[in-house]
């Protein structure tokens, strides 16, 4: 990850003794089940980690005295994550959520040492008997943004501000592009990856770049509202992610993807308490209430709102899938036949962009 932080920095200075991560403890009850969370960013990032933290709090509130939950924030996606996860397992946490793609191998490594502890890795695709993966189908909401952009873009060029080329982001890009193309077949999606999940200044610079190159809609797949502020200033439009970001850009922010993690966290904590927990790949979405969109901006025309609502409704009842063939990649090769739906492993490990994506 970008940004040197306390832990990695001290390590580089050879003072690892100081690096014991700070584990935020909540009250200890009689014998409540202890749940641990590993967070990528600060809980105040207003985006990804903020949403997980909200899910954690809602889980604790919903399950009353049955669970306690601790978290460690600002954990790098490198080897330094291993001792953090191990500390949580050692200190009696029976269920540990590692909430970013880059903790995949570290989670599996620690899981081997603690067969009795259940691990849940967010956005990954590797499993073990005690390691499940989970994710939200954010790309479902991303399709709404693509549809809005496709219907409203005047320049015919729209932007996607991404972080890293990981399946979750690739899905978002493709969903955005395909939904936009369903409204305007000739639309171009310019893609910039900033090699970081959280770097407001670089997010801002990248959004400026996209705007300067003619994008009049920019969707953000990084964690701060920086890009939306650029949209507001440049009088173009954008979308928030993780939480409703309207207050940062009252005119520019048309809607936001809302990550709702609490239904999943409640269900999985209950499964551990009941002894019914099983490994697997749990991928919830609009249907389960895990992905929602924030209220539309008032400026949005009625027909556009209706098109967005139709997509959300289609996801909920299963009648719509943005990844319905034909899907053609950037080189022009057909990857999915007409009428078929991209599902399972093909979707979870996707590493190619659809035609019309530049970058």
């Amino acid at each position: 990850m970008t940004g040197i932080n306390r832990r990695s920095l001290i390590k580089s200075a050879g003072a690892a003794a100081l690096a014991a991560p700070f584990i935020n403890r909540t009250a200890l009850g009689d014998t409540p089940t202890k749940v641990g969370y590993v967070y990528l960013g600060p809980i105040g990032d207003q985006g990804w980690t903020f949403a997980h933290e909200k899910g954690r709090k809602e889980m604790v509130a919903a399950l009353g005295g049955k669970v306690t939950a601790d978290y460690v924030e600002n954990v790098n996606e490198d080897q330094s994550a291993i001792p953090v996860i191990r500390d949580l397992a050692k200190s009696g946490h029976k269920l540990i959520f590692t909430t970013s793609f880059g903790y995949m191998d570290q989670t599996l490594a620690v899981a081997k040492e603690f067969p009795d502890v259940k691990f849940e890795h967010c956005t990954g695709f590797k499993h073990a008997d005690n390691v499940a993966t989970y994710n939200n189908r954010f790309h479902q909401a991303r399709a709404v943004m693509g549809k809005i952009s496709g219907m409203m873009s005047k320049t015919g060029t729209i932007g996607y501000l991404g972080s890293f080329k990981v399946p979750e982001v690739v899905m978002g890009v493709n969903s955005y592009a395909m939904a936009a193309q369903s409204a305007n077949p000739n639309i171009k999606v310019k893609l910039v990856m900033i090699d970081s999940w959280f770097d407001p200044a670089k997010e801002s610079a990248a959004a400026e770049t996209l705007a300067n190159l003619g994008c009049d809609f920019i969707t953000t797949h990084t964690d701060s509202p920086a890009a939306l502020q650029v949209c507001e200033k440049k009088k173009i439009f954008g979308f928030g992610q993780g939480a409703d970001m309207t207050r940062f850009a009252p005119h520019a922010c048309l809607t936001s993807i809302l990550d709702i993690w609490s239904p999943y966290y409640i269900a999985r904590a209950n499964a551990v308490i009941d002894g019914t927990w099983k490994s697997g790949d749990n991928w919830w979405g609009v249907k389960e209430g895990s992905v929602r969109i924030a209220p539309y901006n008032k400026s949005l025309p009625e027909n556009v709102k209706a098109a967005g609502d139709a997509i959300m409704k289609g996801w909920a009842d299963g009648s719509y899938d943005v990844f319905t063939g034909p899907m053609v990649d950037q080189s022009g090769k057909e990857r999915l036949a007409k009428g078929a739906r991209l599902e399972g492993k093909d979707l979870a490990t996707i590493d190619w962009y659809v035609k019309g994506v530049e970058g």
Partner: protein
């Protein structure tokens, strides 16, 4: 490539460069006095939250019309608060490294941890709100003009950064006080023996560096993204630190180096948006770490001679009783 696009790109370059330049200019003075303060990132975060908090509080519409003047002055007060917060936080380092003679590398790292922590703590109540950006103060006919915005379309802090580079160069090379500061950095015991207060000079330098880092932090929270988010400086303090070393402790090269970095980063973004990339994605991710390693390596190699580093850089000064 048309002129509009070039000018727009230059504005992005300026936005990336200015905070690094501000912080590096401050650090240059600190290092010239013989002190290595690695805590730039921490001081920047202190400045970022202080600048944001004061600007937001002073421009709060609930204060009423009688405080309209306060709202007008809000961004300036914010910058002043950022400078004060940066200088104040640097005193923590100053006390450990100068008064107590502690290891400067360790004290600087402690300052990073402290600044990150306290800014997060203070910032909790400022998360999720936005302020008006501290933009150009020139009339819209100039600041908004497609061409003249190149010169007039910047935040006042951009001009401030240029002025400060020049002022620091002049101060270090052309003034008596600058000579004293360099003497303290090159040979602390000689400076001490002819009656200069080594610790006093170094305290002033460290506070100046802190104030500049604080203003650099305010550039993030008041200009680039007028909001507060934890750790929003995302490692730029380390870039600034490395820049001082790469510039060979010269203000002119510092200016050039900072703009080279900004240009480099901007070009890469344009390349990516146009469908290609000339750097592996891991490059930027590893950049701050790489910088820290290089700085420390250069520091430890300097005894071999031929280095432009101030001779006493990083060595604690303990006056003979």
């Amino acid at each position: 490539m048309n002129l509009d696009l070039v000018i727009a790109a230059i504005l992005t370059v300026v936005n990336i460069t200015t905070p690094i330049l501000l912080a590096a200019t401050g650090e240059l003075v600190v290092e010239k006095s013989g002190v290595l303060n690695l805590g730039i990132e921490g001081m920047m975060l202190c400045g970022a939250i202080a600048g944001f908090a004061i600007t937001f509080t002073c421009s709060d519409p609930e204060l009423g019309d009688s405080y309209a003047w306060l709202a007008t002055a809000a961004p300036w007060l914010g910058v002043a608060a950022a400078a004060a917060a940066g200088a104040l936080s640097s005193l923590l380092f100053g006390f450990m490294a100068l008064t107590l003679g502690a290891n400067q590398v360790a004290s600087g790292l402690a300052l990073v941890i402290f600044g990150t922590g306290i800014s997060s703590l203070v910032g909790t109540s400022f998360v999720g709100i936005a302020i008006q950006p501290f933009d150009s103060v020139f009339p819209d006919s100039l600041a908004g003009d497609p061409f003249w915005r190149l010169i007039f379309g910047h935040s006042p802090l951009v001009y401030f950064a240029f002025v400060m580079v020049g002022a620091v160069a002049w101060f270090l090379n052309r003034t008596r006080a600058g000579l004293v500061l360099r003497a303290v950095g090159e040979n602390d015991h000689s400076a001490h023996s002819i009656g200069y207060s080594v610790i006093g000079v170094r305290y002033l330098a460290v506070m100046f560096g802190g104030a500049m880092a604080g203003i650099a932090g305010a550039y993030f929270s008041m200009v680039i993204t007028p909001l507060w988010a934890e750790r929003m400086t995302a490692g730029r303090g380390w870039i600034a630190l490395a820049l001082v070393v790469f510039s060979g402790w010269r203000a002119g090269r510092l200016l050039g180096g900072a703009y080279f970095f900004g240009l480099f980063m901007t070009l890469e973004l344009y390349a990516k948006a146009s469908g290609f990339s000339f750097l592996p994605s891991q490059f930027w991710a590893s950049m701050p770490y790489l910088m820290a390693v290089i700085v420390l390596a250069v520091m430890s190699a300097r005894t071999r001679g031929g280095s432009e580093a101030p001779a006493c850089l990083g060595k604690p000064f303990i006056p003979d009783a």
